[in-house]
Symmetry: C2
Subunit: 607 residues, 2 copies
Amino acid sequence: MILHNSPHIERIAFTVAKTTSSFLKGPDESQTLMKVALGQETADLAVVNARLANVYTGEFIDDCAISTKGRWIAYVGPNPDDTIGPKTEVIDAAGQTVIPGLIDGHTHMGWLCKADEFLQYGAKGGTTTIITETLEVFLVAGYAGIVDLLESFKNQPVKIWSTAPATISISKAARGISREHLQKLLDRDDIVGLGESYWQAVIQEPDWVLALFEQTQRAGKTLEGHSAGASEKKLAAYIANGISSCHEPINVDQVIDRLRLGLHVMVREGAVRRDLKEIARIKDHGIDLRRLVLVSDGITPADLMANGYMEALVQKAIDYGFEPINAIQMATLNVAEHFSLDHLIGGIAPGRLADFVIIPDDATMAARTVVSNGRIIAQNADLLAVPQSYSFSADSLNSVNLPRELTASDFIIRAPENIENVKVRVIKMVTDLVTAEIEERVPVNDGQIAIDLNKNIVKIAAIDRTHTPGRLFAGLIKGFGLKAGAFACSAAWDCSDIIVAGTDNSDMAMAVNRIHSMQGGAVVCEDGKILAELPMPIFGVISDLPLKNLAQQFENITRAAHKQGIPFPDPVLSLTTLTGAAIPYLRICEEGLVNLKSGKNVSLFVE
Amino acid sequence: MILHNSPHIERIAFTVAKTTSSFLKGPDESQTLMKVALGQETADLAVVNARLANVYTGEFIDDCAISTKGRWIAYVGPNPDDTIGPKTEVIDAAGQTVIPGLIDGHTHMGWLCKADEFLQYGAKGGTTTIITETLEVFLVAGYAGIVDLLESFKNQPVKIWSTAPATISISKAARGISREHLQKLLDRDDIVGLGESYWQAVIQEPDWVLALFEQTQRAGKTLEGHSAGASEKKLAAYIANGISSCHEPINVDQVIDRLRLGLHVMVREGAVRRDLKEIARIKDHGIDLRRLVLVSDGITPADLMANGYMEALVQKAIDYGFEPINAIQMATLNVAEHFSLDHLIGGIAPGRLADFVIIPDDATMAARTVVSNGRIIAQNADLLAVPQSYSFSADSLNSVNLPRELTASDFIIRAPENIENVKVRVIKMVTDLVTAEIEERVPVNDGQIAIDLNKNIVKIAAIDRTHTPGRLFAGLIKGFGLKAGAFACSAAWDCSDIIVAGTDNSDMAMAVNRIHSMQGGAVVCEDGKILAELPMPIFGVISDLPLKNLAQQFENITRAAHKQGIPFPDPVLSLTTLTGAAIPYLRICEEGLVNLKSGKNVSLFVE
């Protein structure tokens, strides 16, 4: 690859496109593009002699050129000469392939990692648009928190668009968003839909959820789905409400069921699950794959640094046997069409944003040059554009509200009467994420319920830090593996809680108090000592560390938790999902235990 | 097919769905669908044991059921029993296939034929959505005219949605729509985009056209294209402005060029052209056909009555070698996706409108039962629903405004000086629709230019009836074939003119005056006698006749015109397109001759 007219590419701060500004072209901007296409004005950038991945027709086409002006593509075709002037930067891509900028259609940029740190690694491999959930931040910091989060997504080298939070939570105090706040979000150009709305809530509590759906659809935006475990009648009922995607299927049959009902199905390969290998078998079914999409659903810092982002997913899809053009479509056109954004992104054509990636050949997702919004943002795995750091508001940095320091006595669970043992409902770990409701008879000492390490039963508690600060519920969990101390995190899913597992009331209090003093984070402690900690001071859910340090400290937490006996691959994930509102089926929040099958609170003590 | 619970289906007036009402489901409506899917309420209609054309996955699936409630599909799947109650109408479709309701994505329902008359034949074969242009009516009757036209589309058995007029005309007086009127149209639920915007005008006169584009895109609606003859740089320039479809390609290469640039390409098979046979070769190219669409672009009454509507196009596509499922996708999902209407139409899935068709087998488009908006509207080629007739406003019925009766002298073309002959620009018929600009020396008698039947040169004149009533321009046309008399029509394309060809000034005046007195229509006359006429009193472009009579009188006009010597298959079409703003390349309007290559007026007399 030869760069003409650009002997020296400086590291540039990317300031042209504001992701929240309108992506509507005005007449002047359109006329300029038209003039470039006609050869009456010259392009800013021209990629010539490329093999082009045409996602519209599903072909690779040789000898193509792309000419851009500002952030837009003006011309695509074999004859770019008239668009090239003395100031046009020309990239000769002979022998190489150009693909559209990749899109992650479902992720969580409001969890664990700051956008600018994420993009240090996430923007150089060819991902040019990220569509993210925002629920974590809303549940702890409300509308003002979301607005602060969205500010941190602006002026980045790539587009970060968001979905408004569906605000489904097992905590009644945490759930819900006002009509006014939702409307303000839906009115924004950087909000493309309503975020994942778990099917259980839609079916169990339609009154308030369906009002959000109507409001979102009235704004012409999509309803993101989450139909894990739903099938047949329940799946149909869920979809009948207007849900148009699901990123939860884990095998080919579930994918086909959902595609047949008209959903865009997002195959997930990331931090939460890795389903691509299994689902790749769908390539042999001979069905239309236009609605199949690749998403990360979040990716760990270590994975991102080691393997890359969406380019790694596309590469895997190819390695698992998808035709390269189909794999590329799954991370470009298919997802753009899902969000009705294909007039802007997802393909290389005149009038689209100039987002594309030069790779060595059709099947090797190793970005040589990444162009985003018309700018070269990365070359040969070197990020040229500087992701913008952002100063979060004081409120966002002080979101862990507890009225006082906790003490060991806060974690005492008193039995209802003075008996020797009592039958209680216990959260049973079935996998590292899935739980069941079981009943166990546990010992009572001095009127207090005791843990039973022989039976692998320890305490689990959730403490609200936003809506009813300090409200605490403690119960029991079996199979979590903890042998000593406590393990806590403020980034609990789908609520505003600190979640803490422990064998010792004092250690539990210590872990929570340490999180309070850090204003968020994860802590492992034992015998009154902190063994590992990870600060997450932004909303109590996002770390402020550079990505490398974050990955290291996350690894430290993981190791410490494993050492405490937790057997799961990602102990933070196993802990924080205990408050989740979607993964079956016995969950905990500051209000108590909730059985997701019924959507009802269940008592700790069994009558 | 057995109908349970409906021994007697009466002819019903279809009054449930107002096409201009919102198609947004409110929470109550959604909850009802959900309850039906879950088996907690019963469906209104259930089709069971069907083979289902799944356009999302491109499969036919056996043993499927569809349960509907109101105008919506609530459930699709193999287990409908719980949705069926004593009041549910059950259709056993064993051994038959169900396909989604067909969509015509581009037609002209504001030309020649009233909606209710059209639907007598157009609604019984399986077409359940029609998307139509409205430009003809706007150019002659403005915003009030369009509103009246849209009223006539309401409360019909099938949905008729429209595009707002792009108002491109070679007449400067006729072109343009105010920002306010366009906005009022774009705000309507039954307006899905901006109508065909000819590429020449976009490139030649971007200032006013691009303002319409921006306004339409701001409303989140599509820009319909018309790129006949554009290629390479011009095509790219046109598309860069946001145009997202074209229905003009006439061969595979043109189709592929447009698909590759991201357009939805509409293959036209109707009154204007029949391109499907040629373009069907694309099936062997192995490319992704998700953006290929079938449209009629208008269909003659005789063709409609003899062969049917979109079902005939799908049948032809199959007969020309497309896989049946691909042919069905081309008239359902592909076009729904183009207009971002796939949440409502284009497939059979929960939450979509209950539009579907039972056919005998996958490849035979002979509708046994047509369900539209949840109602059975036709069975075995018998239309059960009654299309609604509409009383147009007095203004709409009095749209042919001429300040006085014309006389023979109005058609005199005076030569610039007293000479024997003069060189003039002449419209040369190249095909039945395409024209060229040629120069001819023609005789001058008594200072008046004479026709020259030996050279097949006769007069052609255009008279404005709306913007500058009575303004008239007369010129010459070669190769039109007329040997005697005059042939006139008030439904001239892309303007508000009456167009008249003639060998005799008196006959020309008579034909125009007869159109004036009929308030619109087509007339053939000779030697002071009317040989054939077709009244078109609605806006001067639509007939008020029942379809059979319309077809008959249209045939009479055609025969009379053929007898006068016009050699083209559809003389009305060849005449009325002479004012068109898109078909190359020398055209006429009341302001003079216009060369479409340059977009400029050219003088009759050559210097």
